[in-house]
């Protein structure tokens, strides 16, 4: 029987109301002290940069969050029942101002730790929550299906052998952590999810406090408890998370009754606790404000104001905490929502689904200020009018990857699937590092990038073995081999023929084991 540490799961469904931590894919990981692994452990120059993604679910009303002062009359005209009075907005650059509920973020702005990026979107926007969310998470064109997430592709580039041979001496921790029941598309890699999740904040505290969910006093409850006990023993990441959490003993106070703050408090705690995790993802819902987003008596109050205040208070407390913990140099964050809302408000004191909207990038290292022009609002906006985008959201990702997460210029296209404009959000500093080749390399190709053909080498434990080529959408293009092998290393040739240039994936399936290698075809 294999030793317990030979196995790793990035899900932790142990003994709480619902699993405290769940993740993308459970897998077999090989012992970190196996010979092949030792040979693959290369020294890694660590960037200790962390990126925090805050998802605002529902489609945040950008026009009431960053109020256009320049076109104020047109704004009032379009939104007579919900507009924010000019004398109440918190001034930014004289052309726009923040919603009055966002004092905390305004403070960060004044300290140069907040970047407001105007009118972020993409061509041919989708107005469906699900589809628009998928577009934002996969970073695909709106008319293309991509079944991987942008951060998942980044992590797959950064840790190409994952999950085979993880965790290991050079990467002991989850690559990404999300708070929520399932890891989102953002963290989906070409084969497996690159992240794990903590289903909710109370389960996080149950985990670190060792609280078990009661099971019924029946034979079934007895067996359930037994299985949960074993489950908790197999969750190595639960241990590292717990250890990291326990290392952080003091934090600043966070706003109460603010679930985003609760989540960010955990993130700060884990960063300070020393996790090498690169990406954190948290979310905050309720932005689908079709009706009653403001109070009739005072449009600066109401449900949307409350949401914005919570976002603002939470991020401010988070920044204060990072500073208090001495890790604010290491952390950059951003907000996003799947879309903004319609320019013209509706008759129920709300707004319907729209397109481009502003977002925030925050942190000690950001180049503060407002990026972009104040959106132009038509003088007589109709229900059909939407804001055009000024910045493609993928430019923000690409800039973060390049200047904050230190992805080499040449590899950026493989992750982002095409080239995007760099934006002045954060200064690149101290970047350039080799890829983490720890773990067990099971499939690779040469040359890469390739133009015509490339040789794919793979290692099988014997038995039925499959090597297939998939495109960026996950569609299988070719099965290069699909038969019985004796254990060993083999190679097959992929003739790309007339396939267009772009990113392709070679997937190895050997019974229960799989690994996916990203390849890039150039003209």
């Amino acid at each position: 029987m294999m030793k317990r540490r030979d196995f790793l799961r990035n899900t932790i469904p142990a003994g709480v109301v619902i699993p405290s931590l769940v993740g993308g894919f459970s897998f077999k990981a090989f012992s970190a002290d196996s010979a092949i692994m030792q040979s693959l452990l290369l020294p890694v120059t660590e960037t200790d940069h962390v990126f925090v993604i805050i998802q605002l679910n529902g489609g945040n009303d950008g026009l009431n969050m960053v109020v256009p002062i320049e076109n104020f009359n047109n704004y009032v005209n379009a939104r007579q029942n919900i507009y924010i009075p000019e004398n109440r907005v918190l001034p930014l650059n004289g052309k726009a101002g923040l919603h009055p509920a966002m004092n905390g973020l305004h403070q960060l702005y004044k300290e140069g730790q907040l970047k407001v990026v105007q009118s972020v979107g993409y061509p041919q926007p989708s107005y469906s929550h699900f589809r628009a969310t998928d577009i934002w998470m996969s970073a695909s064109d709106s008319n293309k299906e991509v079944n991987t997430g942008w951060a998942g592709r980044y992590l797959n580039y950064e840790y190409p052998n994952y999950p085979n041979g993880y965790p290991n001496a050079t990467m002991t921790d989850p690559l990404a952590i999300q708070i929520g029941s399932s890891t989102s598309l953002t963290l989906q890699g070409p084969a497996v999810s690159m992240g794990m999740s903590i289903s909710n904040t109370s389960n996080f505290y149950n985990l670190i406090n060792g609280i078990q969910d009661p099971a019924p006093a029946t034979p079934a409850g007895k067996e359930l408890t037994y299985i949960r006990t074993i489950a908790s023993q197999t969750q190595q990441y639960a241990t590292v998370i717990k250890d990291a959490a326990l290392k952080t003993v003091q934090q600043v106070s966070y706003p109460t009754n603010n679930s985003l703050g609760d989540q960010l408090k955990i993130v700060a705690r884990l960063i300070k606790g020393g996790l090498k995790t690169r990406i954190y993802m948290v979310n905050y819902g309720g932005f689908d404000t079709h009706s009653a987003q403001v109070n009739t008596t005072d449009t600066t109050s109401g449900s949307h104001a409350k949401l914005l205040q919570n976002v603002s208070d939470a991020i401010k407390a988070f920044q204060d905490d990072l500073k208090f913990l001495g890790v604010d140099d290491r952390v950059l964050g951003m907000t996003f929502s799947e879309f903004g809302r319609r320019i013209k408000s509706n008759g129920s004191m709300g707004t319907d689904h729209g397109s481009a909207a502003p977002l925030f990038v925050f942190g000690k290292s950001v180049m503060g200020g407002v990026l972009g022009e104040t959106p132009i609002i038509p003088s007589n906006a109709t229900v059909n009018d939407n804001l055009p985008f000024q910045y493609d959201f993928r430019s923000i990702y690409a800039t973060v990857l390049s200047n904050w997460l230190c992805v080499n210029e040449a590899d950026l296209q493989q992750i982002m699937l095409k080239n995007f404009q760099m934006l002045p959000l954060v200064n690149a500093g101290g970047c350039q590092k080799p890829i983490n080749m720890s773990g067990e390399l099971l499939i690779s190709n040469y040359p890469n990038p390739f133009s015509g053909s490339t040789v794919i080498s793979f290692k099988t434990d014997g038995g039925h073995t499959l090597v297939q080529i998939m495109d960026a959408s996950g569609k299988v293009i070719a099965n290069l081999t699909d038969k019985e092998y004796t254990a060993g290393t083999y190679s097959v040739v992929f003739e790309s023929g007339l396939l267009p240039a772009g990113v392709y994936y070679a997937r190895l399936q050997n019974m229960a084991t799989q690994q996916v290698r990203a390849m890039i075809k150039v003209k």
């Binding site: 299906e145 006990t229 039925h464 499959l466």
Partner: protein, 556 residues
């Protein structure tokens, strides 16, 4: 067989310490269940008597009465499956090639002594058996066939001869709901068993006690406090069993008079000091065997022992004094009164208030076969037809290796005692779940809901959207989760958890149920809308994966 390792393991039970729950065993006696016959009871019956509760089977039995349903479960009508076929490629360097058999034709009638060919055929047999389980009819037959394999445990890698293995399997299968005493006799002189427990080496000149011992200790009398056979009984039974030899060419066994011990065999007080007269002649061996089985089956213990095994297979492992006296003893009485016919015993148990007691539900930890075959059946994973034998056996092979990976290799239990989960106190079923196997279980379910398994260009994967189409109201995310869990879980999760999973997974963080409903309805009316279809499928994938990763999924 070397039994030393088994004995060692048996003497060092491991028990997790931190179990706070004191669970009483199920209530109720063997009297007929008079309660409601709802989906909940149907699913309980199906999960215990078949592999997984398939929606179509649930619906079917809901239209039958309780008694009709159990009767139908107990009376399979299916014919014997077509035999395994040659789906392997015979290597060119074999000493005894079976190249004469065309691909896709049965190999069972072709004798072969080559080790490689027999290895390939053993694999072929296991894949075939897996396929038969996946394609099971609406009856208890497959669970009982596996029950007998666990009871009369043999290992294919010891028997080696694939034809013997197949013949042995057919014996268990065809007798699965028949007479236990007759089956015991047939197994005793079955070629595979004669190899496995050295019966073919047992002669008057060199007695081999292996089978004689297991016949009493593992197959008939057990090791209960009232099983008082002696070492002398073991020796005497070995003498009775001398003279049986195998005939590989005819795939059968035969009695060789000259190797038989014709002295009188004296048994202990446990067997009422019976003396079995030594018999001569070509039927001498069989006459003595019959006499010995009459003697063994005359004890009270045989029926009790087998009823305990049946109870642990279908209900729960914990047999306390109350269960012993109110369930096991009356079951054993029925067994004896019916001359060891199995069906009346199962009939009494499966119709009992005890079997349907609330405390009897959900307390089995799925065996690996139950998990793997149950998943494929419950989610109706599409399988190529048997006629496409290459793909069919390829898929079966993956499932065989999955169960073996989880420590239940069909055809190759750990030893003659069968799988520990059914006898090793105090853990029993819990032995299936270790820090090694639990992650592998999750890995298997993850694979089946995510990438699936691709073989020969065909993919075996759970189609979650097709599955929920069978549910009454898949467009309502609350009902979808309720109805899904009703089938795949036996212990419900809290309403708060369901709400969170609904919002986090099905609604993608949105607060209105409408968004799932809308996406689902769009999927139904316009499946060609690929982005919406992907949305629906990815969310279902995440939901199913999540549920299969929870500990609750391991219970049946």
């Amino acid at each position: 067989m070397d039994r030393k390792s088994f004995l060692r393991a048996a003497s060092s039970p491991k028990k997790e310490e931190n179990l706070a729950i004191i669970a009483p065993p199920p209530n109720g006696g063997l009297g007929e269940y008079k309660g409601a016959w709802t989906e909940n009871e149907v699913i309980h019956l199906l999960k215990r008597t078949m592999f997984g509760a398939k929606k179509a089977d649930i619906d079917y039995f809901k239209t039958r009465t309780f008694l009709q349903s159990v009767d139908e479960i107990l009376n399979p009508t299916v014919a014997l499956p077509d035999p395994p076929v040659k789906e392997y490629i015979t290597p060119t360097n074999t000493t005894n090639s079976d190249a004469n058999i065309v691909q896709g034709a049965p190999w069972i009638l072709d004798p072969n002594t080559d080790g490689t060919v027999n290895f390939l055929r053993r694999q072929s047999f296991k894949k075939w058996w897996m396929g038969v389980m996946v394609g099971q009819d609406r009856s208890i037959l497959e669970k009982m066939t596996l029950f007998w394999h666990n009871h009369f445990a043999t290992e294919t890698n010891v028997i080696s001869n694939a034809q013997f293995i197949y013949k042995h399997h057919l014996l268990l299968r065809s007798s699965a709901l028949g007479n236990f005493k007759a089956l015991t006799k047939a197994v005793t002189i079955d070629p595979a068993m004669l190899v496995y427990l050295n019966g073919e080496d047992n002669s008057n000149k060199a007695p081999d006690e292996n089978y004689g011992r297991e016949l009493q200790e593992l197959f008939c009398c057990g090791k209960g406090p009232d099983s008082l056979y002696t070492e002398e009984d073991v020796r005497a039974s070995a003498q009775v069993l001398t003279g049986w030899r195998n005939d590989a060419l005819n795939i059968s066994s035969k009695f060789v008079e000259s190797r038989h011990d014709i002295t009188n065999k004296k048994f202990s007080a446990f067997y009422s000091n019976t003396v079995i007269q030594g018999q001569t002649g070509p039927n001498g061996g069989e006459k003595e065997l019959d006499a010995m089985l009459d003697m063994i089956f005359a004890t009270q213990e045989v029926a009790k022992y087998l009823c305990r095994r049946i109870y642990r297979w279908f209900v729960y492992y914990d047999i306390d004094d109350v269960v012993e006296s109110t369930i096991i003893t009356p079951m054993a009485d029925i067994f004896r009164a019916n001359n060891y016919e199995v069906k009346p015993v199962l009939n009494a148990l499966l119709k009992s208030e005890h079997f349907f007691d609330i405390l009897a539900k959900g307390c089995q930890i799925k065996s690996p076969v139950d998990l793997v075959v149950g998943l494929v059946r419950e989610f109706d994973v599409s399988f190529p037809p048997v006629s496409d034998y290459n793909s069919y056996y390829g898929f079966c092979n993956f499932l065989v290796s999955a169960t073996a990976n989880l420590q239940q290799s069909i055809g190759d239990p750990p030893d003659v005692s069968g799988w520990k989960a059914y006898y090793q106190a105090p853990q029993f079923y819990e032995i299936w779940i270790t820090s090694d196997t639990l992650p592998k279980r999750n890995q298997f379910t993850d694979t089946m809901i995510q990438n699936g398994y691709t073989f020969s260009g065909k993919k075996m994967v759970i189609d979650a959207a097709a599955f929920i189409l069978q549910l009454p109201n898949p467009g309502d995310p609350n009902k979808l989760i309720d109805d899904l869990l009703k089938i795949i879980y036996r212990i419900d999760i809290s309403a708060a958890s369901k709400t969170q999973l609904k919002v986090d997974i099905l609604l993608g963080g949105q607060s209105s149920d409408y968004y799932w409903t809308d996406a689902w309805n769009t999927y139904l009316t316009n499946p060609g809308n690929t982005s919406n279809t992907n949305t629906v499928k990815n969310r279902l994938r995440d939901l199913f994966r999540y549920f299969m990763n929870l500990s609750e999924y391991q219970l049946a």
